[in-house]
Amino acid sequence: MIELWNSLHPLVQAVIKGLAVIGVMFPFGGACSLVERKVSAWMQGRPGPNRAIPFWFAWVPVLGPFLQKLGVFHLMADGGKMFFKEDPVPGHVNKFYFYLAPVVGMIPAFTTLTVVPFGAYLDGAGKLVPLVLANLDVGILAVFAVSSLGVYSLILAGWASNSKYPFLGGIRASAQLISYELSMTLAVLPVFLVVNPPGGSGTLSLFQVVEFQSGTWQGFTFASLHGLWFGLTMPVAAVVFMVALFAETNRLPFDMAEGEADLVGGFHTEYGSMKWGLFFVAEYSNMLIGSGVFVLLFLGGWNPLPFLPLASVVGWLGSHLSPLFLHPIAMGLLSIGVFLGKALFLIFVFMWVRWTVPRFRYDQVMKLGWQKLLPLAIGNLILYAILIAIFQAKN
Amino acid sequence: MIAPAKTELVTVNIDGKEVSVPKGTNVIEAARLAGVDVPHYCYHPKLTIVGNCRMCLIEMGMPAVDPATKAPITDTATGKQKINWIPRPQIGCATNASPGLHVKTNSPMARESREGVTEFLLINHPLDCPICDQAGECKLQEHSTAYGRGYSRFVEQKNVKPKRTELGPRVTLDDERCILCSRCVRFSKEVAKDDVLGFVDRGSYSTLTCYPGKQLANNYSLNTVDICPVGALTSTDFRFKMRVWFLKQTPSIDPESSVGANTEVWSREGVIYRITPRQNDAVNDTWMADSGRVLYKQVKADNRLLAPTINGAATAAQMAIKAAADLLVGRVVPDEPRGKTAHPEDSPYRNGIAIVGSGRSSVEEQFLTKKLADALKVSAQLVSRVGAGDKILVSADRNPNVRGALVTGLITALPASQLTSLAAGIDAGKVKTVLSLGEDLTAAGLTAAQLAKVSIIYLGTHKNATSDAAKVGIPTLTVFEKSGTFVNQQFRLQKFAKAVPGPAGINDDLVTLAELVAAAGGGMVSFDLGTLWTAIAAAVPALASVSYASLSSTGLLLDATPWAALPFVEGETLHFKPAAVPAAVA
């Protein structure tokens, strides 16, 4: 199978990969919107969407009512509606950029997905191989570089709409993203300072970061730190990164670009049907990638627990239960499961926060970004730089 | 009737307020001058005083004088002349003002007396207010609010009397509600001069009734409904039609005769429900004839003209006006110098045009008719309409505004009832086009054959033989749908206001006339009353200082001397004596 894959032309490979991303991300975006509606409903003491069902499906016992209560058909109906409803384009917009904006939004959302490893397996040589569409050595740099392009989509949408509220939304989005990108990057730096000891050849690969966190308990030694996740050893960096992540994905409480309360719908006020839907698929994709990156950087990637790396778990399962677990595919699936579990939990946290915290005022967003998070991130960086200098000198 | 006002003024003290009133004025009127209302039921300023309701009880007193020396007795406490208060209440309506009279209208005794009277009146009064037409304008309701106790101490069964007695063709009596004030009895006797009403039986059996074999059928019977302070007498026509608090009142003029009785038109949402008299002491006091009260029915009559027509086919208003203008202007000989006033003696039907104006048109319409006649260089004529005067409020001249035509100069002599000259003109072929402003030419002596010979332009409200024969028919508005003025038999200029909107698509008469005047080359004239009146004031010497807005609601008496020699047909009516011997009534 691997041979077959490798024998394909790289271009064909790329197309298949791209289609896979689209095939995963679109349903995922829709599912997220359903989950969002359900989570918000439950938090507010409501049942949430639980009405729609095709009449013939209602005849299926148990499963029919269950899916109806879950609101699955609402999700399908929403998707169908978005594809088939009339797509009005206001007369006053700049048509080219108006059509371009949602597409531009999709590009970074899907591109970054390719460089995020979502699992790993041991190959025949006992070497851990990452499951990733494109294992780039620049890893995190690529993520940051491409994902920050996403803001162009909002600015384009806001500008091309030729209408005051979308314009304000676009401007706010750009200001906010610039403000928080700095803190985000600075919060990540200590991680890579630790991962790349002085003198060695450095890497920015996310896979390497996870590798770094896959240690076991070695007694009270520095080596034991490898078993701890960076979220535990660098809590400040994790918090700063998390907050910046909320801002970067335009999620509440940093919902500046959309701002229903004061900007009608913000940048997407003039959009409808699937063009509007693309913005939301992009938003949920960004959430997933953000969560994934956070999991890789700070929550140990596909390692189930601190001091309990995936390899040990697979080894224990293989020796005690069935050697089948040692097969690379089983291991890959297990690693994907662990990784996705963590990422999905983070997505739930995104929603949880959204339905808990009210929106910040614009000046509060700016103040928080520039006056609180940025100094904190810089201070954190300096602190870890000093700590590393001290302890590595000792070693 | 109220005692004739004397010029001698006396000072009376009402509730501590000094007020000068003519000697002999009763206390109710004196109090009204002092701004105090004394409640009353049976008293009516235009009827004799009987004092049988006892509602207007007041306390009165006179300055004390020494019986022997006639010297004033001074109260030592206040240093003023002492007042001898009569220990029992007196009725205000029958107490006349005399020098030094002191009155307390609101003392505890006066209030208690009224409360007692009110309680007695309400003992047998049915709880009918929800179904009573008087509710909202009922004196008993008003005074019960002020002086009633709010609940009844009467535990026995209430008196039950007939609810629907037909006193006459237009008046229904509800006996239970009657408080026996006798206003209606006195009105019939004194004003209508038709003494048919009276009370029979005694105590709580007392009942208003007609004399045996008679009924309240005179032309003033509905005034008894107006003056009834409760809901006992109700108008059969208005009965259960609408509650009065929904109705909008618009001041108007009764157009049925040259008396010009002042009226109030009661309408709701464009529908007229009733017409009642409006007080004008110089014209109609507080009365009007029954015949004038049903005129509102012509607004929704079946034979109302609702669409402009050309040769009988409905068309747009603008098309009809254009067709009328073509008919008129096409006959004007172009080489004749314009602006020259036509002389009726020379050429009554110059260019083959005849204009038949109307004594029912308002002064403004007659003014525009005159403008049109001048522009076409012809003279207009009117049709007189004469009936028997009843010496009260219906005069012999049944046109409300013949004098308006005289004042505006539309005519110079009184009109005849037959258009003999026009008939002769048609027969001789001299007349080709007749413009009739609401006058039925067949009623004025023209035959159908004569009508068929000419092109008729008919501006009117209702269908008749002339409208049927008309080449161009332009519907107009009734007196309730437009504003304007009439000049009544006293040469009193009185205004009426638009009570309800006209049917959709029908222009105001003034609009139509103004367009015809413009088409005939008479220049642009305004159809807006305010602007039109500046033109009228400039053109008509008798109306030089008048404007529509400043015309008072009781009218303006014009100088009648230029027309004093004309043999008007009116006989004597209320507040009007003919100056000359009236001509023989046709």
């Binding site: 439950w42 949880w352 926060v353 808990t356 915290v357 | 069964q157 209430k158 039950v160």
Partner: protein, 178 residues
């Protein structure tokens, strides 16, 4: 009078946001697992409390007779002018001799009605009541105007406390004994 409320200065934990946000998240998490408080409307119906002001209706007295005498007070008092009555006289009925008046037409425009209950309050005959019906639907404007027949159908019969017209009839038969 306006007055200034002094704000408490924020504590350190409040200024740090995070503990406060976590406390809020604790609350929302609790609600996430708490039972729903909503009602599944078309299947579940709310219990109507006494004194509820639903759709205005016309009621008949216990003898099944029309109570409204078309006094038009409700039409007068109605703030949005939803009520329109055409009054008329009624024929003499043997058991209602003194009621001379009744509505020929009685329309309540439910698109205008604001359910204030003033019509019920003002009615001297206790003929109009805002009852339990709360759901009015229709496809056209005309459907949303309740005419007299519909109003009586919605209203039904309510117990009478006064028997005004019965008393009146009694007085007519046995009274006048003075």
């Amino acid at each position: 009078m306006a007055y200034v409320v002094e704000r408490k200065p924020l504590t350190l934990s409040e200024r740090m946001y995070i503990p406060q946000i976590l406390a809020g998240m604790r609350v929302t998490l609790k609600h996430l697992f708490a039972p729903n408080v909503t009602m599944q409307y078309p299947e579940e119906r709310p219990a109507i409390p006494t004194g509820y002001r639903g759709v205005p209706t016309l009621v008949k007295d216990p003898n099944g007779r029309e109570k409204c005498v078309s006094c038009q007070l409700c039409e007068f008092v109605c703030p949005p002018k939803a009520i329109r009555i055409t009054p008329g006289s009624v024929e003499d009925q043997p058991d209602r001799t003194h009621v001379e008046k009744g509505p020929q037409a009685f329309d309540i425009d439910m698109l205008r009605c604001i359910y204030c209950g003033l019509c019920q309050e003002v009615c001297p005959e206790e003929a109009i009541f805002l009852q339990n019906q709360y759901s009015m639907t229709g496809y056209t404007r005309a459907e949303m105007v309740n005419d007299k027949a519909r109003l009586y159908e919605l209203g039904g019969t309510l117990p009478d406390q006064h028997f005004k017209w019965d008393k009146k009839k009694d007085a007519a038969e046995h009274g006048n004994a003075h």
